[in-house]
Symmetry: D2
Subunit: 331 residues, 4 copies
């Protein structure tokens, strides 16, 4: 996120308060080192936005990560360096000096918006400079989502090259100018599977690829992370047979909508939906109609969670296990 200390248009504390209002746990302000259009009026050094925001973050219980955006021409383009100790040290002439310094400080570094039209107008290329950064331990992750854009190629690279997936807002305006918060729209977020709510634990998770991305009501990540989320979110609330019609109530116990889509291989004796969406913290009813009555009290429906993406164009497979159960609880 950006502030008036680079080309953002808010004071650093606003980033903390916005995050707190949205219920976020961890944020990073990564003002540009090399691009500070307000420099005539805003004179603090590259550590200032962090220093100004930190007391409020502490008060509100938000973990604030210190970082900077290394802002260079393509290749290698822009990268974020997180967990820096002194951002000023990255203000160097040659980009490799900045990356060396970030590495020396132990930073977690990721390539920003590889498919940004401004630097890659028509094609998204992996340059030899990126191969070198990767080889030298100066690229640990990659933005698969930046603001409103999902990059399929970045997603593919994150899998092939073993890079941490990141989804960021890259926000410059007050967040409410870019996202319709009152109507439920949310910024992209990186879900970090950390063992505790500390900088050290978050660092460990990021360095070890334990992330997924929340983006426009989708989750993007490895199935080892998305499968447990799906399991914990979908609950069969009630199953009631009435002759050849089995009525099923599902509950979505998460804050993301879930789209369940039928895939091939289901029992041809069973007719049920082709696709349903369960809104967050909501119930939905559907019927399974049997061509011939089976009196079975258990069904395994072959589905996928089509808004959970485990790879480009590949949704999470999901078996819905329907068993007779208890009565519907209050919403």
């Amino acid at each position: 996120m950006h502030t008036v200390f680079s080309d953002g248009r808010v004071w650093p504390t606003i980033r903390v308060e916005e995050a707190w209002r949205e219920g976020l746990d961890v944020i990073a302000i990564t003002d540009h080192i090399e691009y500070r259009p307000f420099r005539q009026d805003v004179v603090g050094d590259h550590n200032r936005s962090y220093e100004i925001a930190k007391p409020l973050a502490d008060k509100l219980g938000i973990v604030l990560i210190k970082g900077s955006e290394i802002t260079r021409a393509m290749p290698p383009g822009h990268s974020n360096a997180l967990f820096l100790k002194d951002c000023n040290a990255l203000d160097t002439k040659n980009y490799m000096d900045a990356f060396n310094e970030a590495k020396k400080q132990g930073a977690f570094i990721f390539w920003n918006h590889p498919s940004w039209w401004n630097q890659q107008p028509d094609t998204t290329l992996w340059f030899k400079e990126h191969a070198e950064l990767l080889k030298n331990g100066m690229m640990h992750g990659i933005e698969v989502v930046n603001g409103g854009d999902y990059c399929e190629l970045s997603h593919k690279w994150s899998i092939e090259k073993n890079l941490t997936l990141l989804g960021t807002s890259d926000v410059h305006n007050p967040i409410g100018m870019d996202y319709d918060l009152a109507n439920g729209e949310r910024r992209p977020m990186t879900l970090v599977f950390a063992k505790e709510r500390t900088e050290a634990a978050i660092y460990d998770a990021l360095m070890n690829r334990r992330t997924a991305i929340y983006f426009q009501n989708k989750l993007i990540g490895n199935d080892s992370y998305l499968k447990p989320i799906a399991d914990a979110s979908i609950r069969v609330e009630r199953v009631e047979r009435n002759g050849r019609r089995v009525s099923v109530t599902l509950y979505n116990n998460s804050s993301v909508p879930l789209t369940l889509t039928k895939v091939k291989g289901n029992d041809p004796n069973l007719a049920f939906f082709r696709e349903i969406e369960i809104k967050p913290h909501s119930f939905i009813n559907f019927n399974i109609n049997e061509t011939m009555e089976t009196k079975a009290d258990r069904f395994a429906l072959k589905l996928e969670v089509s808004n959970f993406w485990v790879a480009p164009n590949k949704a999470l497979p999901y078996i819905l296990d329907v068993v007779e159960s208890q009565r519907l609880s209050q919403q």
Copy 2:
């Protein structure tokens, strides 16, 4: 739409008031002939829902079309017959008698939800019964959208077999229970390109395939209808050159968001967005960056309007003609 006179759960006048509040011009109530679960308590005949709703429709200036849903097993499944004179005459034992009667009354008839899982669980088939209805002038249109579902195969058939495209809500609940109106969600609608706001003109338009579908912020229809809508919606508001950067402001003069996506064949000297969305009645800014300064004052950008679908998986091609222009008006 349905009312308590079949399996809907509202009184007929509610359908008129809901339509009026949403600003619709024309609606049809098509209660099921063969399915009336509330018959023990609601005893009026098949013309009653129309008769009850008509005075309010007249008062509020809504054109109310009389119709019924012919509700049979697959094949041929369900069909709507509009512009009926006497709905009771369709209450017959054999489905062909009902279609014959509808045809005799001059009805516009369309096949409802061909891919409904309840009647076609895994595949969407075109039965010989549908071929026969089509041949006999008893199928003029087809639902490409029903409630939350778009059917790709229906879209394909509408083109191949020259059928009128329809998008319907098929609503049974109060509309506000199924659509989040306050947050801008809208029911699917059929846009009818009629020469005037009369039943006769609407009949003529429907019989002659002059429709498109509005569905979840997309328009679906023939390019001869979608192209003029795109032209009338997108306005270049301001073009300002600053060295090699040309700043462009677009305005979306419609109530549908517009997604503009770059396609192949653009001038390699020009770098600009890959995809932008312009919200309804809103402005957006983007830059065209030139590799070498051209001093051109006109650019033809090759795009598509990716939420305007002219065929399954085919968006409307669009050339954005950018010319130097006047100042930005108030939003």
Copy 3:
């Protein structure tokens, strides 16, 4: 609430589903006995709307109270009778026969909308007929709120004559047509302080005046009910002294906004707000500025909760006890 079985415009099950979606516990459908404009088409008797709605209420865990609206000219005007056994028995020529029957069935009876312009255009009178009903145990409660209207005189009478306070929607349309649910608007509700979630316990509470009214972000009722609600809702989250400035964070642990207004009698050495509003489930910060530093670690601020009405034009007095405390938790 009303359904198509009197002059409402929805099927009875809709009232149950609406209530379930809004999280209500208990509802009553009270169709008019004497006014049934849809009688030509809707032929069921006065018990039918209850019978139709009951199975869904049971399934969704909503307590559905059987009742009717006795609908007569003024005096005595309209009254609701709840907990009826057979609504048909109230269909009598003389109103006193209907009240006698309701009493015989053990009903809880309350006077509806005493100040309704249609029956009392300019003045709100208590007729001798009302005195008689009260004396004969045929008036246990009174509507202080009906739909959008609060009646000051009814509020006064409820206190003077020891009547149960009721706030009702009296809804005829789908609820979402009359209330902007998506933006947080809610129908008026009677809060019933029952010992358990059963018809018997609710009956006991209503008969013994254990209610308050929720209406347009206000609570209306006896201070013996409103005081514990205020106590349980307002939490001092953090107190931090900085010289002569004491910064206080409050949390509103309820789903109603709370307006705190300073009253007379505060320590003149302390300057603080004149009025603040704390939104539901939200934090607010305010400062207490001391003219002379006291180093006190406890303050008793004299306030009132100005949206909690214990009598006409009388708000609930409230002492805010501010003591040094722990850190701010996540929203």
Copy 4:
């Protein structure tokens, strides 16, 4: 409004873009002269916030007024000076020097938030210093509304002392943090009745008391301004007699809700509502019931517009002239 150049938390251009998105015509940034907590990092002088915001204001067609907040202890407390030429000249030791300078520059000066608890904890006093400023032509207006607070005493003074009424947001955060814009909440605004959209015309209107205040769905101002607004907003759309019942449809042709309340002196033969609210750009129906049929085709109903305040606790009187008329147009 405030920016990072005093204690606001946004860059000056954000104030312009916020205003443009809300459809405002004229704004003023009035950063504090004497209170600049971010001075260590933000070093520009008192004219900078204006200079930075001006180019965007010009581009978007917003009239941006240059001003400053003279920020002193009570008395005289805080005042805004608008239409300044050089804000730096107000940075003086004694407050009278600042006011003298503002007057010399021809500024329009108004007293801010007279009842602010921080400077007037329990009482709102008019000090001799204010009398002096008024006498010397250094107080032309007064804030009757500041943010969420309406001050009854300021309203009274504005009338008695012939001061221009002002309603301001005094916003420090991004506007969307303080106002729920998506749900229709709006900041307080001063309506300026200027002859054209120029600085000179606005100056003339402000200096000559031609304003009213929009605040939380109320209008506050002299009846000579509110009466024409009411007349232009309320339209009788349809009048239809049915025996002794006359059905009337009203339209509110404004963006403010209108509350019409019956007052004394109406014809006792006519029964109609006690109070109705017409939402912005919406229709409402009501009935006039006659005790005896008059066959009159014209009625003059004595009302007040109770959310239009012409003085403290005094609403705008309004005669609703109901005459037979044409059919209801589309919403």
